[in-house]
Amino acid sequence: MEKSWNNKAWFLVLPVLLLVAFSAIIPLMTVVNYSVQDTFGNNQFFWAGTDWFSDVLSSSRFHDALLRNLAFSAIILLIEVPLGIFIALNMPRKGLGVPFCLVFMSLPLLIPWNVVGTIWQVFGRVDIGLLGYTLNAIGVDYNYVSDPFDAWVTVIVMDVWHWTSLVVLLCYAGLVSIPDAYYQAAKIDGASRFSVFRYIQLPKMNRVLLIAVLLRFMDSFMIYTEPFVVTGGGPGNATTFLSIDLVKTAIGQFDLGPAAAMSLIYFLIVLLLSWVFYTVMITNDAKG
């Protein structure tokens, strides 16, 4: 039978195409445009080729920020994922405690990011903050404004406070989907508490954990608002992550070319790492 062609169908795709163009492609192309040119204002542009890219890639400032970002993501994943699993395992499965726990767990997720930053900025202050003041009062020398280590601890604890709930809720969803018969069979088979976790609960949480790790990795790697509000990237450059550095370059110093090159590199790194995470976990899943 002759296949009929009707090119009018393209019109149906058009709205989506326009939407994607204006929301993603055109802004991205603008960045690409900036990244290969130099400007001294007055809308005059000069071709710069790949100069900005090699500049950024060889700058120690970029390397340091990237390392800080990787360290930060690694630390919060190592804390939030096990902690989230642990809390989810200990949440009640039925009864009045369930809605209470769920609401309680969702609360941090409902707070706007810069509000979270402000809360912790005030909370940690040594002069008026409950946390900072108390710590100093009991003899712990804590000051996130002057001590890089304290600043890191503050930013990490804040992130754990803010985002562990997400891991908890996802794991909990995985856990409640396990039929009772599995636990009964495990009892009959004489399985230990650890075996139940290792062979029943963990495999059933596998899929949601993949999502949790991906989300937490991407978010933590792109973190901006909270540390910016709390430490502003300091003391010195101690908590200057890639996003904060990027904004400093683009808006603080108005170096649009390097900033554009940097954001493209940044974007590609996030994309690449997410892909690696996903592939590794999916392959494990298939094997496992």
Binding site: A181, A185, K187, I188, D189, G190, S192, I200
Partner: protein
Amino acid sequence: MARIDLDHIRHAYLPNPSRDEDYALREVHHSWEDGGAYALLGPSGCGKTTLLNIISGLLTPSEGRILFDGQDVTGLQPEERNIAQVFQFPVVYDTMTVADNLAFPLRNRGMAEADVQRRVAEVLEMIDLGAIAHRKARGLTADLKQKISLGRGLVRADVNAILFDEPLTVIDPHMKWQLRSQLKLLHRSFGHTMVYVTHDQTEALTFADKVVVMYGGEIVQIGTPQELFERPSHTFVGYFIGSPGMNVLPVTLEGARAQLGGQSIALPGAAGSTEGKRTELGIRPEYIQLGSAGMPVSIRAIEDIGRHKIVRAVIEGHELAIVLGEDTSVPADPHVTFDHAGINIYADDWRVKLGG
């Protein structure tokens, strides 16, 4: 292997049961002989699974004791009771291989690895899974997964009993037959006490030496398939077992005769006292002769189901099912006679003995 005694077991899921209706299991007082193959048969919600879970220790009964070989195990956990149980839906450990799944209960009990391997190989042979022993359990079909569950139930040779909770629900019909025969064979060769819960009468009757029929949280009859068929002790058993079920007709008794509307039916003997009770006559469709002599009936429908025909008739205003040979035809002026051997009399749903 053990004899299991249920000593006045009652169970309620509600916290403070006061009336009989509050109990999921009203009262079970019964012994399972060592090495017996029992089927627990009954409709959904009759307490079969509750009873099974009480035996395995997943549930602790509200009242009563449970004894294994005379030893009280009421307070013991399932793993301490040394019981195997197979569930309705396949439970497999996804991340393990088929062989590891079977080895799991053995390893948990600290069996030496060489013995584990030997035992697993035996069971793999029994349930015919040797070919996929080293595949991951994930991604196998429901059939195969349930076979693994069955295998895990069979792998421990020293268990007190093996309990099956409708294990063949998810299995294809042709496999069902095969697995059921295999189970029966295993029972013969190893002599474990086996309790098999099902709502399928064919399954119960082919698997078990003794069938335990439950209804409304109580055991209504325990007997061989033949006893259940010929002498149902409760109208429910008569109705539940057999296809179609037993005909139950309201009658009044006068000595050795039963009065059904305008018809009088001779009984094999006189019933004892049934004062003030609702009396009924039960007769299976197989024990009714359709011919030109006897009590007049009118025919409503004839269902031809291949091997035989089922005649739906009406006698004295009551429905009556009759089984008729495939080659027999229905007479123009139909009458029926009841075979003496097939007549049972019930008072308030329970069978009464007919004297002499």
